[in-house]
């Protein structure tokens, strides 16, 4: 019996300890790789006394993680702005932003406003903009200079030397390249299904051209660096990183328009360190800190003067990929309506299974 009580008290003690350890000043941050560099964390901890625990992830996994705990386990998360309202509607995993605690002057007003509009659910704002970027084409210009649009990936001249992901950005990029407007059809299931059917047929036909569907950022960078793949659909940062090693490879904004995303700050519904979370938001939006994040993540931020200390190389690569017309042509992701993923998923499954 003595042993049993011993076990019981130990369990209690361990539970109690883990509860206190997670409380108070620990900020559990669920974010993307590169968004919380070590030097920024060190400066933040020295200034505020909070400690930061970083978990890196991606959009889908962030939502899945928060869904599994009903919005617990993390104090601040950074999903893309188009994935917030549907997740809130379905799973209720976030809590609204208290704008009085945010230093709004540090945000570029147009981005703050656009993100607020896209992340409003039942009258409350759930997201603040942080890092933005695009996906488009990463091309080895010496070997595949003709690839200037998504559908060019299906051209015979690059057969077997092409890679893209089997995910929703591919569907949307191809749709734009085929002259369709998927974002306008987001709320019209019938029209969206019709668009998906056309894209599905195109992607099945294109399958023979594809070397492999890539999954992770490192995988596609390896494929491009080794020359096994000469043109791919990927993020702008990946292209710019490769450009640093090999001047022939760079990011190309497709004719149909690069797809623009904004990663946000959201508060998980059961986060326990809101103070630390707001402190972090206000800290990283300072121009010099935002520049440090841009230098590690490779993408620019929504901070006013956030490019002040960004390296000249990165600025040059950004300007090389985007002229004003390409910037104006960026297709920004609108909020994804709940249930859209199921339609897209079925199309992607059929593409994957087709021979």
């Amino acid at each position: 019996m003595g042993m049993k009580t011993g076990l019981f008290t130990t369990t209690l003690l361990v539970t109690a300890m883990s509860v206190t350890a997670a409380q108070a000043d620990t900020l559990r941050l669920l974010t993307w790789g590169g968004y919380a560099p070590d030097d920024v964390i060190e400066m933040f901890e020295a200034e505020t006394g909070h400690t930061v625990e970083v978990t890196t992830s991606n959009n889908e996994e962030m939502i899945a993680k928060l869904r599994a705990t009903n919005g617990g386990g993390f104090d601040l998360a950074q999903p893309s702005q188009d994935r917030i309202t549907s997740a809130q509607e379905e799973f209720g995993i976030y809590k609204p932003i208290d704008m009085s605690r945010v230093d709004a002057a540090q945000f570029i007003p147009s981005m703050l406003e656009a993100t607020a509009g896209n992340t409003t659910f039942e009258g409350e704002v759930y997201g603040l903009p942080h890092v933005w970027g695009t996906s488009g084409l990463v091309v080895n210009t010496a070997q595949a200079g003709d690839v200037t649009d998504y559908t060019d990936l299906c051209d015979e001249s690059v057969a077997g030397r092409v890679s893209y992901r089997l995910k929703r950005p591919t569907l949307i990029g191809f749709a734009y390249s085929m002259g369709l407007d998927p974002f306008a059809a987001y709320d019209d299931t019938e029209e969206y299904t019709a668009i998906l059917d056309q894209v599905e047929a195109a992607l099945i036909e294109c399958k023979a051209n594809v070397k492999t569907y890539w999954d992770g950022g490192d995988e596609i960078k390896n494929l491009l660096r080794s020359g096994e793949v000469v043109a791919a659909m990927a993020w702008d940062t990946g292209g710019w990183q490769l450009n640093a090693d090999d001047a022939d490879i760079t990011f190309v904004a497709p004719e149909a328009g690069a797809l623009g995303w904004i990663d946000t700050f959201v508060l998980p519904a059961r986060g326990r360190a809101d103070d630390a979370a707001y402190d972090w938001i206000n800290f990283v939006m300072r121009p010099e800190i935002a520049s440090m994040i841009t230098n590690t993540a490779g993408n620019f931020t929504a901070a006013v003067d956030g490019a002040v200390d960004v390296s000249a190389d990165l600025k040059a690569r950004y300007e090389g990929s985007f002229d004003q017309a390409a910037i104006d042509n960026i297709k920004w992701y609108p909020p994804v309506p709940a249930g859209l993923e199921a339609l897209e998923g079925a199309a992607l499954d059929r593409i994957n299974a087709a021979n």
Partner: protein
């Protein structure tokens, strides 16, 4: 009094196992089962029903992927057995003392690094600009680079490599227990290598073969990393489908149903395998 004490001891010793089973296996499965029988009808609206299971049987993609996964896992198991048996026999019967330990250790060494690193190792070997392709070009066997990665053969190589240890260990154990004099007696009675293998060695090693096969089959069927990383654009694997349903589709209901179907169907295949090889689970696991 003593019997009371020994009873308490028995339950205390049993407690970790029971806790493990109940908390980590049975409870999550009950939860998963309830998720799998709830059908989504709208935002935050669910109904109880078997619709998710029906999806599996109505959509050819899903059951074909399962069949593909099962067939490839069975082939992997057979290949692992064919490759593992001679190695196990050599370790158990042809070597003594230090050599034996060394050989056994050599089988173990690859498992000191994680599965992810091992799989990346295979990617470095097999890719178009990889070591094998380059080596074959430099000795003049092929004229241009050849892609060995991103196909089903690459998956099989990876799976066999990942699971061969789990075949060798039970085989060595059972073969160790076979008295050498039995083999000698077989030769004295006029048997040759083949008949001795068939009449003496394999029947004796059967429990080891069966338990090795069960473990390798289950490991291959439930593997996620190797098929995803080494497989190509047509290489669907059932665990990959489950992951997609849970993570990218937010469809936990269908994912849970797939999980249960994987459990049921794989248990069915193992049961069938035991029946065909005329072994029982108690005999296999009891040795």
């Amino acid at each position: 009094m003593t019997s009371d004490k020994s009873k308490l001891g028995f339950y205390l010793l049993l407690a970790p196992l029971l806790l493990w089973l109940v908390v980590l296996i049975i409870l999550p499965h009950i939860g998963l089962f309830f998720v799998s029988i709830s059908e989504k009808v709208g935002v935050r609206e669910y109904e109880t029903g078997l619709g998710n299971y029906a999806v599996f049987f109505n959509e050819p993609l899903y059951w074909r992927t399962f069949a593909r996964t099962a067939i490839m896992s069975i082939s992997t198991t057979a290949l692992t057995l064919i490759l593992g048996f001679p190695i196990a026999y050599y370790i158990a019967k042809m070597t003594r003392g230090r050599t034996k330990t060394t050989l056994f250790l050599m089988c173990l060494i690859p498992f000191w690094v994680s599965e992810l690193v091992r799989t990346f190792g295979w990617m470095i070997l097999l890719r178009e600009t990889g070591i094998i392709s380059n080596a074959l070009q430099s000795i003049g066997l092929i004229s241009g680079p050849v892609e060995f990665l991103y196909n089903d053969a690459a998956i099989m190589v990876g799976l066999v490599y990942t699971s061969i240890l789990f075949m060798i260990v039970p085989l060595v154990t059972t073969l160790d227990s076979l008295d050498d004099s039995m083999i000698e007696a077989g030769y004295d009675l006029g048997g040759n290598g083949v008949s001795i293998l068939r009449e003496i060695i394999i029947p004796h090693a059967m429990p080891g073969i069966v338990s090795g096969c069960i473990v390798v089959f289950m490991l291959s069927l439930g593997n996620y990393l190797t098929p995803i990383l080494l497989g190509g654009k047509d290489s669907l694997w059932f665990t990959g489908l489950i992951y997609t349903q849970f993570i990218t589709r937010f469809n936990w209901e269908l994912g849970s149903a797939f999980g249960f179907l994987l459990l049921a169907l794989s248990s069915g295949i193992v049961f069938l395998g035991l029946k065909l090889s005329r072994q029982t689970l108690t005999e296999t696991m009891g040795r």
